[in-house]
Subunit: 381 residues, 4 copies
């Protein structure tokens, strides 16, 4: 694993736990953790249970005893590492966003396609696809239970910028973060909408906004946040993005990515309306899926709160009995399971780098639309 931020903890938990609950066809070893700072990497490896640590990822990807590279670094280094790793014949799991630019993402998808011919797997980490309720939502759509999809409403809502005095973290600096709310959390909303519906967005119209344009510079950093100094500096990324998209089928979607949604800590919500039914999901109640069956007798219709923990639901049979809840990090174990299954089975895992690229293209189209007065903008291909 390369990198050891918050995502490093989550990915480590996935590798640690998946083999204990799922019958994996291969036996993954948590071999080595890489970080720029050798001592920090060693501490993280010790904390999270990796056998070794190192500070030079280039050397690591050449090692014969390493089969898979898990990339959890910031987005600006994804392309370089992933392309090199694939070239070295390593399977790659790359945390989202695939890259900070479409150009990088194209190069990565190309590298993945080439590697695939040699049986090398590449996967991008849109982990929320593997929340059982989300996977099950996809299944219900695929079974036709919603009929023709008409409308999608997706929003990823956080509120850590509601306070105008919240300090300038690196995530608010375009040079380092690449993008703001749109790229960080809007990406999840786009991927989830496309994943569940099985439809791609073809064009968009949107607006990106920086609601609070100046904030106190940070005196020191603690976790995702930090303490403020008296000096102020500019916020150079969007903190709110609103856009509308048209899917290939003609269905319309409304999307929102907000860091100003006061009171919503991590609410990734999606509602999908079809000719025969509807679905509603909120990550704040992540074990539940609301399903409306428009084919039931009118008097009995309503949204059914399905608690997605039954043995027959995706992934859940391997965990606990029905009614026992799963949490945030279980998706990382599901990701490991599916990736290991694909590698052992000689198939390509999903979401592929091409899928990750397509999401980047959507976000890029939103940005271009916003720059041109919200004009409808085709998603490139």
């Amino acid at each position: 694993m390369i990198g050891h931020g918050f995502m490093g903890a989550a990915h480590s938990q996935g590798w640690r736990v998946a083999p204990r609950f799922f019958d994996l066809p291969l036996d993954p070893t948590m071999a080595l953790l890489v970080g720029r700072d050798a001592s920090a990497a060693a501490a993280a490896a010790e904390r999270w249970g990796w056998q070794e640590s190192a500070d030079d990822w280039r050397a690591v990807i050449e090692r014969d005893d390493i089969d898979l590279i898990d990339i959890v670094t910031p987005g600006d280094s994804h392309a370089e590492i992933a392309i090199a790793a694939l070239a070295a014949g390593k399977h790659v799991l790359c945390e989202k966003p695939l890259a900070n630019t479409v150009e990088e993402a194209v190069a990565m998808a190309d590298a993945a396609a080439t590697a695939a011919e040699r049986g090398i797997a590449a996967m991008v980490g849109f982990t929320y696809r593997r929340v059982p309720a989300v996977t099950y939502a996809r299944d219900l759509v695929a079974e036709g239970r919603l009929g023709e999809i008409r409308q999608v409403r997706a929003a990823y809502l956080q509120d850590w910028l509601s306070d105008a005095e919240a300090p300038l973290t690196w995530r608010l600096d375009k040079d380092r973060a690449g993008s703001g709310a749109l790229g960080d959390i809007g990406a999840h909303a786009v991927d989830m909408a496309q994943f569940i519906t099985g439809l791609s967005l073809e064009s968009v119209s949107g607006v990106m906004e920086t609601l609070v344009a100046e904030r106190p510079r940070m005196a020191s950093s603690v976790g995702l946040s930090g303490t403020a100094s008296s000096e102020r500096g500019p916020v150079t990324v969007d903190d709110l993005a609103l856009f509308t998209g048209r899917f290939e089928s003609g269905a319309l979607g409304s999307f929102e990515a907000s860091r100003f949604a006061t009171g919503r800590k991590n609410a990734l919500r999606i509602e999908i309306a079809g000719s025969l039914g509807a679905l509603s999901f909120d990550l704040e109640a992540m074990n539940e899926l609301q399903f409306f069956d428009a084919t039931a007798p009118a008097e009995l219709q309503g949204f059914t709160r399905i608690i997605v923990t039954e043995p027959g639901h995706p992934y859940t049979g391997s965990w606990w009995p029905a009614g026992h809840m799963l949490g945030y990090e279980h998706g990382f174990s599901h990701q490991v399971k599916d990736l290991v299954d694909a590698i052992a089975g000689g198939t390509q895992p999903t979401p592929s780098f091409a899928d990750g690229l397509q999401v980047q293209r959507v976000l890029d189209a939103v940005e271009r639309s916003s720059d041109s007065g919200s004009a409808w903008t085709p998603v490139g291909s």
Copy 2:
């Protein structure tokens, strides 16, 4: 009262019930109901308890014993009737939308302004403002409990067109209905957002859509719906409208009016995020208001489900003890109360015709934006 459709029943209930629960300074009499068809008008008058009926509204507005005209006809006749009634010195209550075009609405607002100088009252019926939870939401914003408003999310969701075989009612015919989802229900979302926040929309970007463009022609009409024939005809109004708006303060809002929101019968939802707090309301749980206080200790923060039936809440003290629910039509009694209070007090009621005009201008700007590829479009004035 002129007209006797669904809104006639609701307005009649308002006039019938308000004096029984509120101490009104005047004693309204349900004098006369007007309809084009004399016998249908007579039947409605009998059913709803109006003393007389008539079929010529022009004669009625000249009668000395009539002080107030309540207009519940389709939108295309609002302007003519209201302007004539105001000219005849009658107070006017006009159901929303104020008119089918901005031009008509301008003329009505002008007439109301002129009449106001003579002490004549004019009010437009955005009744949802008078759901106690909505009025209370406005109060909380006005008290500063949300701080600076940052973001609004408003949607009016219905699903009576989800079924592609639902027939072509007059509401789907532009010539008769004037507009579709945007004008019918989007108007409520716009008015509510502006009412609660106290902010006006200044520009918009939007898209209007007709998701199902052809439907069976109607063989016969029953209530809001009807039975289908085998012939098909075109839907000439929008059935889905999505738009983004910028308020005068710089805050952003996302808006949706949908008749395709499968499973949502009459869900007018609004969420408002401010620097100090947030609110959430859904007409499907109309006695409740969710309030988030961002100034509370972090560990105690959360959305509080306020059941808006306390004696100290707007309007509710005149009805039942705390915890006893109100329904849809109570807003019509509140409207009567506020209108009668204004007339007796010699003040102008709200929402005024000017308020109604401003909502029309917003909808018009959305339509123009949609016609020009969702380009940002200023709200006229």
Copy 3:
């Protein structure tokens, strides 16, 4: 109508509104309101729209132009008035509880049985049966959708005594109120459980409690509450009752009536579990019924939130379009409709005085059980 407290307002609204929304076979006239104090009765009659007022109910029940007596006085006068009215050949609607003692209730049920032979109708006002969601719950059970009923959980929760300094109102005085939480609100929980399930309770075990035994005496009375004086007096009724009951079928029920349920203003909740399904209802969301269908595929099972406002649901088709909410007082219109239908049709309305008596017997058995250390006590018959 005899009496003019809070229930008088609710019953008046029922008589006023029902004929405007339902096609009644008879045309009820709000003829006369009786109260002990002539001027207070006159004021209430004026306020609520009764044509006359009077202060001697005995004279009124002899009048030939009065066909029906609606009794909304305190429980200690129900028996005397109802028996006299029935003897005088008047139809009777009597607010719950039927009486303050089983003995009185027996006499009333006997009088009603005798009167029924002459075609006179008698009905007791358990209005919550006529909340559409509750009536629909009964229908679902009657259709067999829950299979064999196994378990019932019913609670009526209020909190107006949570504050130990809330003053001693007449409702806390056994001599005047007859009983406390059990008789006032527990009666509703018992009636609703028996109504929905169609099963009678046969034996009970319970405890009645007075959690705060002394409270400030009241200096003055305002509405249901009042202001406190510095002197204290004893609470002589229960403020919390908990009991278990066995239905005739062997099913078990748990019941609670509490005036100490902090935060619950008027929460009458019931949950019913059967071999094929389950139901859940809460008066705080009175337009909703939660239904669980255990015969659905396991992965799709969950509680469905049915919004009981469809045209095909009980009563709702006569009001507003689907999705438009009803409130507390609509049940009183439904009661009027059903009573008038029964009278016109020559049938006996439900709930009958015998039904009211049976509820009294259950409450009496709870009281006797509580007095004997919660021993199981048969419900008399």
Copy 4:
């Protein structure tokens, strides 16, 4: 660890994960798993990551390199193993229920008290105490935010016996399971109520019931369930228990343990009402705590849905950022953390064996009350 059923998986996850997220003062090693069947134990050890396996627990507790014994066997063996382990100077973590009889539990509590004098720790596994929302509920009560506790409503609802044809598993056989719904899940409701309120139950009145008395014998066993044969046999444990309890303070509680609560898979619910506030929790939404503050202004009062994932909430700061959900098994990591902290700090962990014994005494009193017609029965001491 001794035993390797469902609880073995959960405890293993606790030992595996806790050191990766919490800074533990000691470094626990997953040394050895014991099971009666050597090959099954070896397979479980391999699966869950224990270094060794064994089939003789008596030998294991004598090993010098073992410091702590984690007992996850069925209840009938707890006493023997725990007492021997404590005598051998090992710290003990024993899954609930402490024992199948009060006598055994007394012996265990005595052994723990003796061991404590030598610095040996003993803890019983009521893991739900360590759901962050539950721990936080306890904190709020301890801070006085609820004032004087008046009333508790606790229910543990499952539905795996709703189907009358569900087969006879060992859990329905008194000889093997010791008890039914009361002992298995009612124990959790009792512990949680006492834990959060800080109050002990002093007397109870209850009824235990077997709603379906005969079921198909099991042909084969799979997980918690199995397949049915055509032969039938008796259910010898309760499948529903309802009881009322009085706390030492005079507060009353109602309790329910049901395996017939159709539609509720694992709903451990508790509601607590006090003079200043109230709390509500449901394990089906385990990251949430509903809090009502009766000291807030009346118009702002309501239940606040606190998502218990803030850094300042119990345990949660060591996991993920605010708004990222935890699941069922996280309580097992919290249990490990608190146990290891106690051992390292030389203090006794809670819940102690004495706490476990007290819960057994409550359950025993309920059983005795049920046997004597629900008469009030003191909880022994």
